[in-house]
Every structure is written in C-alpha cells, then in structure tokens.
C-alpha cells in the first residue's frame, strides 16, 4: 500500500464529503446570508479536495485525475470521517458538525504545513487561511445557538449529543500515519487532540452546552467502513459520471 496516497485520500475525502453536504444547503439556508455562507464554505472544501486529489493521483502514478478519484470510486474506497457523512439535520446540527470538524482541521493544517513534502505543505498553508474563517463562523454560531433561546439551546445540545460519538475518529491513527511520520512526510501530531479538546470545551462552555459524558465511539471511515448515508451521497455525487461516462462540463 502507498501510505502517502492513502493519507491524501483521507484528507481529500474529508474535504469532498463535507463540501458536498454543505452544498446540499444551497437554496435551503435559514437566511440568505447563511445560504451564501454555506455555499462559500462548500466551494472552499471542494477546491481543497481538487488540489489534494490531483496530487494523490500523481502520487499513485496510475494516471488517475482528480475527477477520477472524486467520481469513480466505490463507497468502500472512500476514507472520510463518519462525522462528515452524517445528515445535515437542522441548521444547528450542521453548524455543530462544522464546528467539531473545523476545530480539528485548523491545528491539523498548522502541523501539515511543516510537512517535508512540498505539495502537502503548500496545500496545508493555502487551506489553513480558509479554515480560520470557517472555524470562526461555526464557533460563533454554536455560541449563539447554545446561548440563545431555550429551543435553540435544546436543539443544538441534542445535535452535540448525537455527533459526539463520531469525534474520537478525528484522532484515528494507524500504520499509514506511523509510516509517514517515520519518513518525515507527516510531522508529529503531538498535542493535536489536547488542542482540539481545550478549544472545543472553551466554546461549548461559552455556548452553555454540556460536553457529553458518554464515551461510546463509532469509527470506521478511515478504513472504508461507512454508515449507510455515504451511499446516498455518492449516488447523487457520482450520478453524472456514472450515467454519462467521461462527460465534461
């Protein structure tokens, strides 16, 4: 197995799937500004996915393009986090999902910027600038909704309770990570989880939300074991290329 290729798929699939979920909000946002904000976020994520897949294709060396990787793989070949394929739910649920993910992406990219691989480092540096805006946006919404009305508080607390089980996977590591760390391509991820935990606790505290104490976790995405939701996402995402192979925009 090519570890760097595998790592890039994980990184790229996270971007594509979260971007696709956000794009589902197009035309459905609770207010016009947020409709536009979520499609902007989607654009950033799909753009990041494009850069990552392009490089993944080069690393793999079998001539696959970014489009091939995005549109022509089966569900078990996707390595995104389970968190990101969960349904959007209401606006609060989506903001909570974004928040838990953005709070991980920022310190992740700060570390990946130090990668010995120039392309990985360049993609991380580029993406980090966008991620800072994303994190500020989702954090502020979590605080507003948590510390808002009784209704918004209860709903966003429920979203947190539902999504919490998927957060352990953010820090999933296996032989892919250890091999890349040994060769210096991926820098040390020391302190990543602590940084995430401390930031998430700070924001949830401001939002008057309670961190779930249930420690039961659900993992599998990094190994291609998904919830049923991914299949539905892919059937829509891949429809055009499956129905009209090779079609170009």
């Amino acid at each position: 197995m090519n570890s760097l290729f595998e790592y890039l798929l994980r990184l790229g699939d996270d971007s594509l799937i979260v971007g696709h979920r956000l794009s589902e909000w197009c035309g459905h946002g609770p207010i016009l500004e947020e409709d536009i904000a979520m499609t902007n976020l989607a654009l950033d994520f799909v753009g990041q996915a494009t850069s990552i897949y392009k490089y993944a294709g080069e690393v793999e060396g079998k001539g696959r393009t970014a489009d091939d990787l995005a549109f022509l793989r089966f569900d078990r070949e996707y390595k995104n986090l389970l968190l990101l394929e969960q349904p959007n739910g209401d606006f609060g649920m989506t903001m909570m999902k974004q928040f838990l993910f953005d709070a991980y992406r920022k310190p992740l990219f700060e570390r990946l910027m130090k990668s010995s691989d120039e392309t990985v480092s360049a993609i991380a540096a580029k993406s980090l600038k966008e991620t800072k805006y994303h994190l500020k946006h989702s954090s502020e919404w979590v605080i507003r909704l948590g510390d808002g009305t009784e209704e918004s508080h209860n709903r966003v607390q429920e979203s947190l309770d539902t999504l919490w089980r998927y957060t352990a996977e953010l820090f999933f590591e296996d032989e892919v990570d250890s091999e890349l760390k040994a060769s210096g391509i991926i820098p040390s991820m020391e302190g990543l989880k602590e940084e995430w935990t401390s930031y998430v606790n700070e924001v949830l505290n401001l939002a008057t939300l309670t961190v779930p104490t249930n420690n039961w976790v659900q993992e599998g995405g990094r190994k291609g074991m998904h919830s049923e939701h991914l299949g539905y996402i892919l059937s829509e995402l891949q429809y055009m290329q499956r129905a009209y192979p090779g079609m170009e925009w």
Binding site: I36, N40, D44, A122, K126, Y133
Partner: protein
C-alpha cells in the same frame, strides 16, 4: 523580440472575471513570467482553493497573449507561496474602492471569538460607521457589509493572510 516586460504589459489587459476592474497583475496572482523566444510560461496562483474563476483566468491569459503575437503559451497553477491580499497593488486597492468594493483592511486576530470587528470604511461616503452583515459574500473573496451613515450595502474584499 518580445521581452518579459512586454508580457507583463499584456497581462495588464487581462481582467479578473469576478472583479472586472482588477487586472490579474493588480490582483497579485501572477507569480512568474518566463520568456524563451516564442515560448511564454506564466505561473499563477489561486486566491482561494475553490476559486471558480481560475480556469477562466487561465484561458483569458492564453487568449490575450495569442492576440498579441504568435506565442506558444503555457499557464501553470501553483499553490505555494499561498496568495495573500497583501499582494493586491496600491493601484488595485484604489480601483476596488472606486468600483464600490471596500479594499482589504488589517484584520483582528481571527482566533478571538466575537473580537471587535475591523473598521471597514464605506467605499461610497467614507463613513467609518459600518456593520458586517455576513463574513461570506457574493464570491469567496468578499464579505458583505452595510454603511450605517448612507445605508449603502457594499462588498468588502476580505483580508487573507
């Protein structure tokens, strides 16, 4: 014989499709121009990862240079060093304001939640009494503001560093 300087001048005629008052040179996305007789190599960098204008800009550059001479043009896209709004020229910032888009200002630390908002003066009446409507605007590079004095809603070219 065409020189590098000529090519930079020609690029001053290629405009950003989404902010049509700015040339690609004003925007600071042209990283490098290499001239080897008829072969012209241009290196550009995207503003945002998902900027949908990049393909169009690439095509526009090629079209413009072919208009200017019998050149063999290649355009490369690089991600590093990552673009920042600091690369927008002073001339570019002036043109933005004239067009009604507030140019990038220094931003408060984004890590601070609900931090005091950066003052973005109104491009129409110059009032400093403005409010942010949304951090995300009509394109990835813009935020949405409104002036409290003249009530004009306007775009703000947000600071990216």
């Amino acid at each position: 014989m065409v020189t590098e300087k000529d090519i930079w001048n020609y690029l001053e005629e290629v405009f950003d499709p989404e902010v049509p008052v700015l040339t690609v040179v004003d925007l600071g996305i042209v990283q490098k121009v290499v001239v080897d007789e008829r072969n012209i190599g241009i290196t550009i960098t995207p503003t945002y990862s998902g900027c949908p204008a990049m393909q169009r800009i690439e095509d526009d550059i090629i079209e413009k240079l072919r208009e200017k001479g019998d050149f063999n043009v290649t355009v490369d896209l690089v991600l590093s060093p990552a673009w920042t709004t600091d690369w927008i020229s002073e001339e570019g910032k002036r043109k933005l304001k004239e067009y009604g888009i507030a140019p990038p200002e220094d931003e408060a630390d984004k890590s601070v939640l609900f931090a005091e908002q950066t003052v973005v003066p109104c491009p129409k009446c110059n009032s400093r009494d403005t409010k942010m409507i949304s951090q995300f605007g009509s394109t990835a590079c813009k935020a949405h503001y409104q002036c409290n004095t003249c009530l004009e809603p306007f775009d703000y070219f947000k600071c990216l560093r």
